[in-house]
């Protein structure tokens, strides 16, 4: 009886561990994380080749600070016009492509100034209003 109980407990523990392992680290569907290689949001702060954005179109806005990679550039998303970093302004809606080096240092490889009137932005806005949030994959 004791052995049976121990076996049952072992199996239960194993199943629970597998279940927790599958669900605890699930990131897809829960909004942006600092591991994402693309963040979309508005600029809240500009520093020395560094920018901070507040994400948009998600259930809850998150804040990320990125340093510009030495080869990084800034351009417009509608026609590909290259800009200087100093031409970025607070409240600009941007897409930042890059990567996270060690969990805390996000490197921006390309900053794209988005057109708020583009269909993709309009779609992300209307979807968010309808409860379909960006990076909250179903």
């Amino acid at each position: 009886m004791k052995i049976k109980s121990m076996g049952f407990a072992f199996v239960l523990a194993l199943v629970s561990t597998v279940f927790l392992a599958q669900s605890a680290v699930a990131e897809l569907g829960n909004g942006s994380t600092n591991k994402d290689c693309l963040q979309v949001g508005t600029i809240t702060k500009l520093g020395n080749r560094e920018l901070t954005i507040a994400t948009k179109f998600e259930k809850a806005s998150k804040t990320y600070t990125m340093k510009l990679h030495p080869d990084a550039y800034v351009m417009t998303g509608d026609r590909g016009v290259f800009k200087k970093f100093t031409e970025l302004k607070a409240n600009d809606l941007v897409a930042v492509y890059g990567w996270n080096l060690d969990g805390s240092n996000y490197v921006a490889r390309r900053v794209v100034i988005l057109d708020p009137n583009s269909y993709l932005i309009k779609r992300l806005e209307s979807d968010a209003k309808a409860g379909v949030y960006y990076k909250h994959e179903k």
Binding site: V25, L38, R79, K138
Partner: protein, 600 residues
Amino acid sequence: MKKKLFSLLTLSVALVALNLPAEAKKTILTDKDARDWQVIAPQDSDYPLRDYAILYDAGGTDGSIGVIGIPSMKTYRHIKCGTDLHNFPFSGSNAGNNNGTPDGKYLYVSDKGADTIAEVNLQTGWVERLFALPKPFGIHHSAAISPNGKYLFATGELTGKMLKLRLSDGATTVLDIPPAPSAPDYPDTSKDGKYVFSGNYYHSAVMVFSQDPFKLIKEIPVGKNPHGTNVSPTNRMVSVCDKLSATISIIDVDQLRVRKVIPVGAGPLHNQFDSLGKYVYNSCFVSDSTSKTDVMRMQLVDEFPIHYRCGHNSIAPDDAYYMSQNKFSTGLFTPTGIIFAVNFEEQDIDETSATYGKSVKLAPVDGEPHEGRQIFATYIQRWNTGKGEDLFEKGYDLGDYHVNFGEKGRPGLPANQHPQLEPNHTADSSRTWIPRDDGKPGVTKEGDVYVVRVKGFSYGYVPRFIHVPKGAKVRLIYTNIDKASGLTKNPDVTMGFTAAGYYGPRTMVFAVRGMSAVNEFVADKAGEFEYYCQQFCGPLHLEMRGTFFVDPPGGKASMGVGDYDEISKQETMLAPNEHQWIVGTNKLMNKLNEGSEPTI
């Protein structure tokens, strides 16, 4: 009566008034409308036309990169690269969707026919270096670039191998992918420098490799016969086209498991994520459609019909247009030769546009293009307005980012020189067309000539194995024996034969019903060479495979027995005084110093 007339007049005025704003909107050209020049009334500002984006396509059988304007779809030029081109990334970084984060300098295109990778200088418009891969390799669906732009990852579909290549000098690490049959398919790199994903066509799985050190770490089962495999720009997921399951499998990059299987059109082949990773578009060959999947809802949300038989695809850098790169055009265009032109179909995917979901242009194109990628035209400098010397010496700026045009750090190669290479498309062979030959398939000897009769059909060859001795004079007679317009509604197709690698430029022939193609060459290098159909012929086109053995004196050729060291030099692709621009070869195999070669 007067009252009635008055009412009628009022109604007419109201109708005219209602129509006025729409008419006015049509004829006013704003900056935002500029791209829609083809759907609004002609304006003075339409001429001269300057395209805002450029589509580069790996032209397949014409061995050239096609350079096409977006949205005009005018072909600007062809860049000669080799024999049979398949896939490429732009130099710079893989950050973003398939178009990446280019620096405007190069693209790296795989040549399945010659088994090479050509480096195309986007600024000069010529091939600048030729990467000679270790042999036998059998490249097909190359190549994906690392986030730091220093490495390529390529798949050896014909040998079951994978390769990591250092771009500075062509040094490589090669992995064998057992168990056979193993056919590594389209690869893509994760944007965080961790993984390489590649479908394994015969395993119905996606292989996961670590980028550094380069090794296989996992196989993830997906739908049947996965083809296009692409990482989303967010790096959160991978979309896999399950060609024979009519689904896409969405792999969670964080957990390395399939998160969802989404039904799309039949025969999905390739993925294009938009720049924000909101939608993924799939070319669906059998259903003749473009599927549009919302990856936030994880469901198919729209489907656009295409003319017929889409294959590869590409997306404009502003997400306004999707290009369906179709495979067949039989009966569509004016005949211009034995081999029909295939076509590109431009679809408007701007949801606010009047022509959303419609095909706005359709044009014939050369070759049989595979992968296409697009960039804004602003990356390409104007060299012909007296600024050439300045640009050459000082480089150019992309905003704050300064791009050097003079190359440094390429071991053994001269700095500040940009060669104008034109690698051989076909070489050292003669080709003729004859009326249909109905001789028995197989190898016979006529005098001192080995006559090799091969029959091609949907989907296979007779015979599957060909043996000739080294030094043999070979006359290949290739005949298309399809009885009618093929399976699954295919129109009358062209069948191809290319023995990949050394014999690629020597053997590539095409066959249409009613005629045979003859090709004569000398089999002067021993080895085992996979032959394949280089002209897309239907959903099981990739099944068209066979093996051409050139046996050394007193022995049998195999993957281990052959003149591979000599072949790997690829010297016959360029003139002798250009050989310095061939880099890589077998000598550098497995010389990457793994562990100190970060990919990010």
